[in-house]
């Protein structure tokens, strides 16, 4: 179990880098979840299904329309976001005045439906999606071989995460959003269309999941179950970071990617459970999460 001494610094570097790459996915996904929770108070349990849908939309665009990876990176999130907006208008908007529980259950049901439908039409084995030519190959870093695509994943996720954080915490639009969560009536009285803002926010959060899905398509198998188990892990990331904290979700996403990466070296069997152990510990010691605001 403790082969600590057998591990050279080079290998450790490699593993940390891989952890960071995985953390990139956690960060983008948990960011979307945190945006939705922070601003809408909805626990979006269909986030994993929407991530899967992003990957599938990219695959469909390529297979049926011939649209490649780069346009898909913009188009697929837009499509997934639009589907999310329809969901928000038809269903979620009726639940804002109720307990969290109902939003969670509704989106859980939606996730079951989406996964079931994709499974019916595309089977379970998954669909191939190739790495775009511009990013194939890789760099030899000395301590490891880093595929170009993985490097791109880190860059893309950092850009998106920082952009989102900046927009919500540092711009006027973000200020309106945050104000609307605190007091929708008052913000509405200032002439701002609050329901529309909330609708677009949900669409944006969902689009982030779709974006992560497109990023994942070339390296993970595009199949209907790809987001099914991921959702509770990402959810745990959000809880550890502090529910609704944008910065918390981002930092925790990368951090847990690293911790999980290290677990994979020292005690690989436990790498899927380590996040829950951390969550239990954090909740016991600091219930509002690492970056949560105390209420």
């Amino acid at each position: 179990m403790f082969e600590l001494l057998n591990i050279s610094p080079q290998v450790l570097m490699g593993q940390l880098l891989l952890g960071l790459i995985n953390g990139s996915f956690y960060a983008v996904l948990s960011l979307g979840l945190a945006v939705i929770f922070g601003l809408l108070n909805i626990i979006n349990f269909s986030h994993g299904a929407q991530y899967m849908m992003g990957a599938f939309v990219a695959w469909m665009l390529l297979t049926y329309v011939g649209i490649g990876y780069w346009p898909s990176l913009i188009l697929a999130p837009l499509i997934v976001g639009a589907v999310g907006i329809v969901l928000e208008r038809l269903a979620l908007s009726r639940l804002y005045h109720l307990d969290h529980l109902y939003g969670l259950l509704l989106t859980f049901g939606v996730a079951l439906i989406m996964q079931g439908l994709f499974r019916n039409y595309y089977g379970i084995s998954g669909q191939p999606y190739n790495i775009p030519d511009a990013l194939s190959g890789g760099q030899n870093l000395g301590f490891m071989f880093l595929p170009n695509y993985r490097a791109w994943v880190v860059v893309a996720s950092i850009v998106v995460c920082f952009g989102t954080w900046f927009m919500i915490e540092r711009t006027r639009l973000g200020a309106y959003l945050r104000a609307a969560t605190e007091n929708p009536v008052l913000v509405g009285a200032f002439g701002i269309n609050v329901p529309r803002m909330i609708m677009l926010t949900y669409g944006f959060g969902v689009a982030l999941a779709g974006f992560a899905g497109v990023l994942a398509a070339p390296i993970y198998s595009v199949n209907p179950n790809m987001g099914a188990d991921l959702i509770i892990v990402v959810f745990a990331v959000v809880v550890i970071g502090g529910m609704g904290s944008i910065l918390g979700a981002i930092v925790t996403g990368y951090g847990l990617g690293l911790i999980e990466g290290l677990t994979r070296v020292f005690y690989p069997e436990a790498s899927s459970v380590v996040i829950f152990v951390i969550m239990a510990i954090v909740l016991m010691i600091k219930p509002e999460g690492l970056f949560g605001r105390t209420s």
Partner: protein, 317 residues
């Protein structure tokens, strides 16, 4: 303190009638539908009722009840198969194990509230799942197979489906009546008071956390009773019962039937288990239909089936 507690009221006539009719129907049932299926429904009805004790009457949403249900089913299966205990002792052992587990996890979880409480229970349930996957005696993903059905009290053989059916009926119906008793006891009244207004209950001098821990442990124990019984019916214990989706399923059953009602979880469990059983031929549509039920239930029938009926009758059910 004893004097300040509300008086325990006897079981209302309506409930007596429903229980009696239910028991009568259940006695005829094995001759109408397949007994093993009926036993499965009863096990899940007890599981949902146990969960409802915590959610509906204690106001605590656990997202990790699979741990007690599945944990007990492993312990009971192991007890019957390896230690050679008789069915009732095996079930008792499983229930006890679930109660202990519930007490340990509960004592940590009750310090948190709302969604955080749910996440703590989920976290521990994931650890239990991990343990079940890793431990030697659970047989990994093969599970514990071929658990003998054994002899009740070492005397009456439960090989026969009908004999086993009445044994399971006695256990689950007894369990449900006990839950009813708990809900309508002074203890249950205090729980309701805590659920409605925790600060007020504290100011009235109740040690809220002690009550919460107690209800959590009881709920875990009854969930364990259900799981342990299920392992004797199906003669196996497997990872399905400890997986987090099982925790989700019991929430679904309780909500569909009507949370906080006496009969709701029973109805919800019956509906969901029947759906899974009779829709099995439709393949992937099972999950889609379940999803649709979730969505429609949340949008249209938030009180659940029994909750809606109770609204019509204007009586608590």
């Amino acid at each position: 303190m004893a004097d300040t507690k509300p008086k325990t009221v006897g079981m209302p006539m309506l409930h007596k009638v429903i229980f009696a009719v239910m028991l009568a129907l259940l006695c005829v049932l094995p001759f109408v539908i397949y007994p093993v299926f009926a036993m499965k429904v009863m096990c899940f009805a007890l599981f949902a009722a146990a969960f409802n004790l915590l959610l509906g009457f204690g106001g605590l949403l656990s997202f990790g009840h699979a741990a007690y249900f599945g944990g007990a089913s492993y312990v009971a299966a192991h007890a019957a198969k390896v230690w050679g205990l008789t069915p009732e002792l095996a079930i008792l052992t499983g229930t006890l194990a679930a109660a202990v587990l519930g007490f340990l996890i509960g004592s940590l979880a009750i310090r948190r509230q709302g969604i955080y409480f749910a996440m703590v229970t989920l976290a521990f349930a994931q650890m239990v799942y991990f343990f079940a996957l890793q431990a030697e005696f659970t047989g990994g993903e093969d599970g514990i197979q071929g658990v003998p059905r054994g002899d009740f009290l070492g005397l009456i053989s439960l090989q026969d489906n009908t004999a086993l059916y009445f044994f399971v009926l006695a256990v689950t119906f007894g369990g449900i009546l006990m839950l009813y008793r708990i809900v309508h006891s002074p203890f249950g009244q205090v729980l309701k008071a805590i659920r409605e207004n925790e600060p007020r209950a504290i100011s009235l001098g109740y040690q809220v956390n002690r009550y919460k821990l107690m209800v959590f442990t009881l709920s875990a124990a009854f969930a364990g009773l259900a799981g342990a019984t299920k392992s004797q019916v199906f003669q196996l214990a497997s990872l399905t019962d400890v997986h987090w989706s099982m925790s989700g399923e019991v929430v679904l059953m309780t909500l569909l039937g009507g949370m906080g009602t006496i009969f709701g979880p029973l109805v919800g469990a019956a509906v969901i288990v029947s759906l899974q059983n009779y829709l099995a031929t439709f393949g992937a549509w099972v999950t889609i239909i379940q999803g649709v039920i979730f969505v429609l239930g949340v949008l249209l029938f938030r009180k659940g089936i029994v909750g809606v009926i109770a609204g019509w009758l204007r009586r608590p059910l």
